[in-house]
Subunit: 123 residues, 2 copies
DNA sequence: GTAATCAGTTACCTTTTGGTAAGCAGTTAC
DNA sequence: GTAACTGCTTACCAAAAGGTAACTGATTAC
């Protein structure tokens, strides 16, 4: 009957999922980690990502202090997005999510590798 | 240039978020870990969770082999939901999400490191 | 003036997710 | 037969997330 306790421990979990959940946020962060800095650059680095969604996601990420936005004056006006130090703390989380996903697939589709399954169909 | 590689590494991350993302899944798993077994029992253990959503989420969790469903014959027909061993592998992930959420809150609302971050990156 | 680039915004839709309420099937108890 | 419990399903909505396409504003290049 100690549900209260468990549920309060879950608030931070929900916070985290709100910040990095959704379809694009982690992809965008990684794109920035890879060195992409400008709006169009980021957009082009992630297939199927539209300007509207990117715009919204960048705002969310900035609000959560995972990226910074700087407008540079010059030529055709450029904006520079950079990942913050704080964003680096996500590496461990993302790695953990990745590991679990890999292990989960093994659990779901068998320990044998998929190539085996695909090739040796009819025994 | 190495986007392909990064993106393929992200597939497991997306898998994981699909499995444990959303508003209720982690709560339900934890409710089962706490010992709740029956439909109504789980429903009552999580405030604001409706039968419809619980029903759907339980199916998803069963598909992902995180819980098992057993129908017991007897009295007013009872179903027993139990967390699998595999579900236990989520503990580490959830803990990591929780830690990050807590730390993120400190980062956002604690004044200590704010200036640090903003200045360090735009240098 | 026309085109093209960057960095977005806006309007409009569709899909997904979540919520509300009612109802159904099966069984027990009265 | 009526109520009450369990374990759901169904129909109907509302909100949020995501997608498409057009368009703005600034500036350079021709």
């Amino acid at each position: 009957m100690e549900h209260k306790e468990c549920m309060s421990a879950l608030l931070p979990v929900r916070d985290t999922l709100d910040v990095i959940g959704g379809k694009w946020k982690i992809l965008i962060i990684i794109s920035l980690w890879e060195g992409n800095k400008h709006f169009r650059e980021i957009e082009r680095s992630i297939p199927k990502l539209s300007t509207k969604v990117l715009s919204k996601e960048l705002k969310d990420l900035e609000e959560n202090q995972l990226i910074t936005r700087t407008v540079l004056n010059g030529f055709p006006v450029r904006t520079e997005y950079k990942p913050t130090k704080h964003s680096r703390t996500l590496e461990k989380v993302i790695l953990e999510l990745q590991h679990w996903g890999i292990n989960h697939r093994k659990e779901m589709f068998g320990d044998r590798n998929e190539a085996d399954n695909a090739i040796a169909v009819s025994g």
